[in-house]
Symmetry: C2
Subunit: 177 residues, 2 copies
């Protein structure tokens, strides 16, 4: 409802009311409220596109496409068990493509690959200067986030994911640099 929203105290109050009435504890509900109020106006906007993440059913085959056919420099395979993925980075002159393959039984990309047998673009990641400012601004404007606090992402930086239904169908990751 981006275009219909009235970005005002009303939406802040609604956000807070939703948090208090939901299953969130008072303690965790207070933090987003503080963030929301502190951050309005502080968010400095989007930075660089950090990467485009592609979930692939065959990591070696996808790596070979970018390395051997398209002649881009690629990284070694990186195992990230805490994120449930194996990753290869394809380095382009201005950004990266991140090839993701499930690692372990509860990989967050297994369901995606079940639905998209040939693979597909899983998310895009854009840099922000301050993740909490970004989160506060997004929440105040009714963009749902997938976690109430930043998490440490695959690059060791704080990240948050935004709900695809509020972002034109796109899973949007914001990463603090």
């Amino acid at each position: 409802c981006v275009s219909k929203c009235n970005y005002s105290e009303v939406s802040m109050a609604a956000t807070f009311a939703r948090l208090l009435l939901g299953r969130t504890s008072v303690l965790t509900a207070v933090m987003p409220k503080i963030l929301t109020i502190r951050s309005l106006g502080d968010f400095s906007g989007l930075g660089k596109l950090n990467h485009v993440a592609i979930a692939v059913p065959d990591l070696e085959k996808a790596t070979s496409l970018y390395r051997d056919v398209l002649q881009a420099p690629v990284s070694d395979v990186d195992l990230l068990p805490e994120h449930g993925v194996k990753v290869v980075f394809v380095n382009l002159p201005n950004t990266k493509i991140e090839l993701l393959h499930p690692l372990g039984e509860n990989s967050p990309i297994s369901a995606f690959l079940e639905k998209n047998k040939s693979g597909g673009i899983h998310h895009i990641c854009i840099e922000v200067e301050n993740i909490k400012d970004a989160m506060g601004t997004l929440m105040a404007k009714n963009i749902r986030l997938l976690s109430e606090e930043p998490k440490i992402g695959a690059h060791g930086k704080p990240v948050v994911f935004c709900h695809p239904k509020d972002c034109g169908g796109v899973l949007l990751e914001l990463e603090e640099l």
Copy 2:
């Protein structure tokens, strides 16, 4: 079959045989063969990520997300009837997001939006120095292309799309700069 292919004269011959045996006329079959032979080894690899294209069901709503919430500079709406799309560009410091919405009855993204009601990432576009060198290399390595000749893309530059099934499920556009 990227990882299994033997990138040799065998695959060139197979490509040529397939073209001759298929529905392609001898005239159009000759051109890819010439391209293939001329281009092996000439392709200089991938350049910058030119844009990520997102098909959206509501262009104003998506534009507002990037302009008003995420505070990125966005272009005016550009009507491209010859491509069947309306476009808004979101300018990031290192690349662009292209928001696509159908224009006219036979828009190439209508079917995509039928399947993806909330919208979604439609393709990524990567720059190459010479589109015919790139096409020759891709064809020689059995990556299917969606046209036998470059077309003039939305930015007035020669482009070609690669078959998603040969590219990890991703619709990959190559654009000559």
